[in-house]
Structure formats: structure tokens, C-alpha cells
């Protein structure tokens, strides 16, 4: 045991003091550091992503219009699931109101294009802005709530947003819906057509995956996980939990609003009940939960898997497709409560593939 030194002892120089005070490390730019840190072992997800993106671009030339439309909707849900995962998965705030940003994005674009003859590309950033502003406005009070309370409050906020759009008849057309002029001299921006929207939603999906992947590996990503795990402990290590929650909510809202904007243009004509449909939110949640929350691949796999499965059942099973779809979701949730991708990753790491053991582990 060391003896007690004088009370106002000067710090003893040496490695111990260095470690405890921190010493200047290399001050290279963020991206330079990242690129230097790339190794074959950690760059394969990025390469795989690039390959898939290229394959999807090439595939467009080969497929028929029906398949093209299906894949376009898959891309939409990839973006929505990634967005939900940022606030619901990483940050741990299960929002049941994300469709509000979708609807607001859609209506911002439609109103600007229809009423003010603004081009789509000028309306798009404004749609994102409206989504983010609404997210910050409701996030500041609602992100103080936890668990079920937050879920219910966001659900209410989304219903409220729909009612506002519904009742602003003079601007939005109210319940009578709204139409975006897409042809002739009335059109502020010419309609993209099927190939155009395939490309647009593919890029949107890719951007959302990249945003999620970059966030997840950043200091902010660790802050989101820390907030998810324990807000008191996160605050104690210097994380401004309010900022983290609001920013995560805002980023999520930005992606969703962007998706809503493209969706509006694609649909041309729609009603508040279409773009504020709570089933969008429900699908986001289910896709993330089935795939596995808190990772980038989980929501990606969940969105692709469920959207393809749903289409397959609709084509092949006729009337009972929804019933079977629901049953499959229930079974997956029962057997893989942590999500399929998370199960596979953990099973691969531990070499334990027993599904019964998995159920026991998560269902105590």
C-alpha cells in the first residue's frame, strides 16, 4: 500500500498521468482516418453493398414492369425500415408515428408542385425540412417519455398531423385528396415514369443504408446505443442525451419525409388516409423487429424479406394471403425474438444454432 502523499500533490508525470489526462493523437480528418482504417476484413460490407447496388442497376434492364414495381416498393421499405431503426432500434425509442413524416413529406411536395408550380427537386429539400422541423417540435417534449408512453404519444402526434392536413382544405384539398400535375405544360417537373422511380427509390434506399451505416460506426452511433441502454449512465460519461435523441429522431424523420416526397410524386394522386396510413408505421416496426433491430443488415433483410414474401403470398395464395402472412410473422417473432439476422449472427459467432435454445434464452 502506498503512503499518503501531500494533499496538493502535483500530478506525478509518467504513463499513468498520460493515460488519465489523454494525450494528443493524430489530428487527421475524419474521412482520411476512415479510409486508412479500411482493411479487407472490415471493408467487405461496403464492397458487398456496392455490388448489390450495381446488380440492382443492371437488373432494371432485364425485368418486366411488374417486377420493377415490386422492387421499387422493396426499395421504399428498405429506406423506411432503416429510418425507423435509427430512432427505434439504435436509440431505443419505438416511434409509432413515423408515418407522420411520410405524410408531411408527401403533402409538402404535392402542395408546392400543385399550388405553387414548384419543381419537384426544389420541393424535395423543403419536404425534408418540414419533416425535420416537425420531428424536432414533437421530439423535444415527447422524447422525455419512455417505452409505451412514447409509442402512444407518437401515434397520437401522427393522427394529429393527418387531421391537420385533412382540415386545411384550402391548401391541401382536405379529404378530397390532391393531385400533382405531371404531364404537359402544367407539370413543374416531368413525370419520372416506372424506370425513373425505380432508380429514385433505389438511390433513396442506398442513401438510407449508407446514412445508417455511417451513423452506426460514428461516435454519435455509440451515443445512440448508450442512450438506448441507460440514459443515466450515458449522461454520466458526457453524452447530451436530449440532443442525441432529438437528432436521431430528426435524421429518421428526414429519411422518411424524403421517401414520402418521392412516393407522392410516384402516386400522382392521393388522399390523407393514403400517406398517413398507420400501416406504414406498423410495417416499419415489423420489418425492423423481424430482421433485427440495432444493426444495418437487420432492417435491410427485414424489409426485403417481408415485402417479397408479402407479394409472393398475394400472388400465390389469393384470399388467405394476409392470414398466412400474419401467421409467418407471429412464428418468426416467437422463434427469433431478437430478429432473424441477429439470431444468425450470434449463432454463427457462438456456433449454437439450436432454435429451441434461442427461444429459451429470450423467453425467460
Amino acid at each position: 500500500m502506498s503512503s499518503r502523499g501531500p494533499l496538493s500533490a502535483a500530478p506525478t508525470p509518467g504513463p499513468m498521468a498520460d493515460i488519465l489526462r489523454g494525450r494528443a493523437r493524430s489530428r487527421q480528418g475524419l474521412f482520411v482516418g476512415w479510409i486508412r482504417a479500411l482493411t479487407p476484413a472490415n471493408s467487405w460490407p461496403a464492397l458487398a453493398g456496392l455490388l448489390v447496388f450495381a446488380a440492382m442497376l443492371a437488373l432494371q434492364q432485364l425485368i418486366e414492369p411488374g417486377t420493377q414495381r415490386l422492387l421499387t416498393s422493396v426499395f421504399l421499405f428498405v429506406a423506411l425500415a432503416q429510418a425507423w431503426n435509427i430512432i427505434g432500434g439504435y436509440t431505443g425509442y419505438a416511434s409509432f408515428g413515423q408515418v407522420a413524416f411520410f405524410g408531411l413529406g408527401a403533402y409538402t411536395v404535392a402542395v408546392l408542385m400543385n399550388n405553387y408550380h414548384v419543381s419537384f427537386w426544389a420541393a424535395l429539400p423543403l419536404a425534408v425540412l418540414v419533416g425535420v422541423v416537425f420531428a424536432v417540435a414533437i421530439g423535444l417534449p415527447l422524447l422525455r417519455l419512455r417505452g409505451h408512453y412514447f409509442a402512444i404519444a407518437t401515434l397520437g402526434a401522427a393522427e394529429g398531423a393527418r387531421e391537420v392536413i385533412n382540415n386545411l382544405t384550402s391548401v391541401t384539398g382536405g379529404g378530397g385528396g390532391i393531385t400533382i400535375p405531371t404531364f404537359g405544360s402544367d407539370a413543374p417537373t416531368p413525370y419520372f415514369g416506372k424506370p425513373g422511380f425505380y432508380l429514385a427509390f433505389l438511390v433513396l434506399a442506398a442513401v438510407s443504408v449508407v446514412v445508417a451505416a455511417v451513423l452506426a460506426r460514428s461516435r454519435f452511433g455509440y451515443a445512440m446505443v448508450a442512450v438506448h441502454e441507460d440514459e443515466d449512465a450515458a449522461g454520466a460519461v458526457g453524452i447530451n442525451t436530449t440532443v442525441v435523441k432529438v437528432v436521431a429522431f430528426g435524421v429518421s424523420a428526414a429519411i422518411v419525409a424524403c421517401a414520402g416526397a418521392f412516393y407522392a410524386f410516384q402516386q400522382i394522386e392521393f388522399y390523407p388516409t393514403d400517406v398517413f396510413d398507420a400501416s406504414f408505421t406498423v410495417l416499419m416496426v415489423i420489418m425492423v423487429m423481424i430482421g433485427g433491430s440495432g444493426s444495418v443488415v437487420g432492417p435491410l433483410a427485414g424489409a426485403v424479406g417481408l415485402q417479397l414474401l408479402s407479394q409472393f403470398l398475394r400472388v400465390n395464395l389469393g384470399n388467405f394471403n394476409q392470414l398466412i402472412f400474419g401467421a409467418i410473422i407471429v412464428l418468426v417473432v416467437v422463434f427469433f425474438p431478437q430478429g432473424v439476422v441477429t439470431y444468425l449472427r450470434d449463432a454463427w459467432r457462438t456456433r449454437q444454432f439450436s432454435i429451441l435454445d434461442n427461444v429459451r434464452r429470450y423467453r425467460l
Binding site: L7, L20, R217, R219, Y222, A234
Partner: protein, 256 residues
């Protein structure tokens, strides 16, 4: 040895008439003291004496009903935890609060990312984390999940997480409870090394023996009030302290 009162500089921590009421119960009442730079202050008291409440009030995890908290002479009363953390105050939690979904290394790295003297990249933070894990002696568990750690190692992780924020004042809340004898010894040694490296320590403990060997001064809390504050020898020989800890009968028996 210089007595704390003669140190001319502003105290690292000063608490003035701090009080906290939970409903009808005063968890803490009119507590005032100050801690000088480089000092190790022990805080002891029976269960429910208000020790953890005191730490929570200092670090912003609870708001005082009345009174003030000053860090380096600045009033930080009622500030949020991350503001206090950026005033170079770190803490551990009595009930350990690891980030369960992350590895031990990542748990520590978060403090290096978001505390003071921040590392600019995740990679640098992880390197810092490795150094700190080595320092507290759990480097071999760097890739483990925090829930796999033993009680002693989980406490060490708490300490490493706190140190990663580069504090000048460290509040440790019962870091030795439930540890074995040799584990307590190494914890005591670590606290001395921290002080030698320039960190002021406030150590809340239930284990009397451990606290006596680390502290320069000891503050005794009882029913939310300060029972006494003095050198370990003074405090240990104070009959009120013995009574608070061991009850009337022990005091009577000893005096017979």
C-alpha cells in the same frame, strides 16, 4: 502534511447546505463540505444515510431541494449530468450501469468519445479504452460482454468508463462493496494511484475498513445529516460514529 483549510486554491468541490426531500422524507439535510484538489474524501454511513443521494445531487442525476453544488468555484446546481461531466466530474454507479449491448472495450471507449479531451475518432477512443482497461486490470476481458464480468470486474469497468471522460474529480459510489479482501486491496491501491496522477477522489463506501485506509478525511452521514467530518483517526474514535454503525448496545458493551 498541509491541512485542507490551508490550501489557498478554490476547492474542487464545494457543497453548501445541500438538501433533498423525497415526499415526506429528507434523504439529505443541510450538508456542507468542500474537497481540495488532490484530496481523497471518504463518505461513509449506514444504509439509507443519503450517500448515493449525495453523489446523485453532485453529478446532476437528481436535483437538490435546496442548497448549492460548486465545481471549481462555479455554481452547477441543477445542471444536467452531461454538463457536470464536461466540468471534469466523473462518477461510478453503486448498481453498475454497463451498456450491455456493447463490449467491455466499447463501454469504456464511449467515455473517451464524449467526455473531456475527446478522441476524434472511434478508433482512437478504442485505443484509449485499451489503455484504461489495462490500468484497472481487466484488459483480458476487452472483447467480453459486460454481463459476463464478475462483480469485481464489473466495478472495475465502471471505474474505467468514468476515467475515460478524463475527470479531475471522481466520485466512486461503493466500488468496494461485495469485493473479496485482495480485491479491496487492489482497489485501494488503484485509488491512491489515481490521486497521485492528479485526480481528486470522493469515495462513498459502506466498507469501513477499506475507506479508512484510503481517505485523507472522512465524512460520516447519518439519517441524511453530517454526523462528523475529520481525519480517519478522529472519526473512528468518535463514539457517535460507532453508535450509528453498531448501535447503542455495542457502545455500552465496549465502555463496560
Amino acid at each position: 502534511m498541509i491541512a485542507p483549510s490551508e490550501v489557498p486554491s478554490v476547492p474542487v468541490l464545494e457543497v453548501r447546505h445541500l438538501a433533498k426531500r423525497f415526499g415526506g422524507l429528507w434523504a439529505l439535510r443541510d450538508v456542507s463540505f468542500s474537497v481540495s484538489e488532490g484530496e481523497i474524501l471518504g463518505v461513509i454511513g449506514p444504509n439509507g444515510a443519503g450517500k448515493s443521494t449525495l453523489v446523485n445531487l453532485i453529478t446532476g442525476h437528481a436535483r437538490p431541494t435546496t442548497g448549492q453544488v460548486l465545481i471549481g468555484g462555479q455554481d452547477v446546481t441543477g445542471q444536467r449530468p452531461w454538463v457536470i461531466a464536461h466540468d471534469r466530474v466523473a462518477r461510478t454507479f453503486q448498481i453498475v450501469k454497463p451498456f450491455r449491448g456493447l463490449t467491455v472495450r466499447e463501454n469504456v471507449a464511449i467515455g473517451a468519445m464524449h467526455g473531456n479531451e475527446r478522441d476524434r475518432s472511434v478508433r482512437d477512443s478504442l485505443a484509449t479504452a485499451d489503455e484504461l482497461l489495462d490500468l484497472v486490470g481487466i484488459a483480458k476481458h476487452a472483447n467480453a460482454a459486460p454481463m459476463q464480468l464478475s462483480v469485481a470486474d464489473a466495478r472495475r469497468l465502471e471505474l474505467a468508463k468514468a476515467l475515460a471522460t478524463r475527470p479531475r474529480l471522481l466520485l466512486i459510489d461503493e466500488v468496494m462493496a461485495g469485493l473479496r479482501h485482495h480485491e479491496i486491496e487492489s482497489a485501494v491501491e488503484l485509488i491512491h494511484r489515481l490521486r497521485d496522477a492528479g485526480i481528486t477522489v470522493v469515495a462513498v463506501e459502506h466498507v469501513m475498513k477499506a475507506i479508512v485506509s484510503v481517505s485523507d478525511r472522512i465524512l460520516v452521514l447519518h439519517h441524511g445529516s453530517i454526523l462528523t467530518l475529520g481525519s480517519p483517526r478522529e472519526v473512528l474514535s468518535d463514539p457517535r460514529v460507532i453508535e450509528a454503525y453498531l448501535g447503542h448496545r455495542y457502545v455500552k458493551r465496549r465502555s463496560e
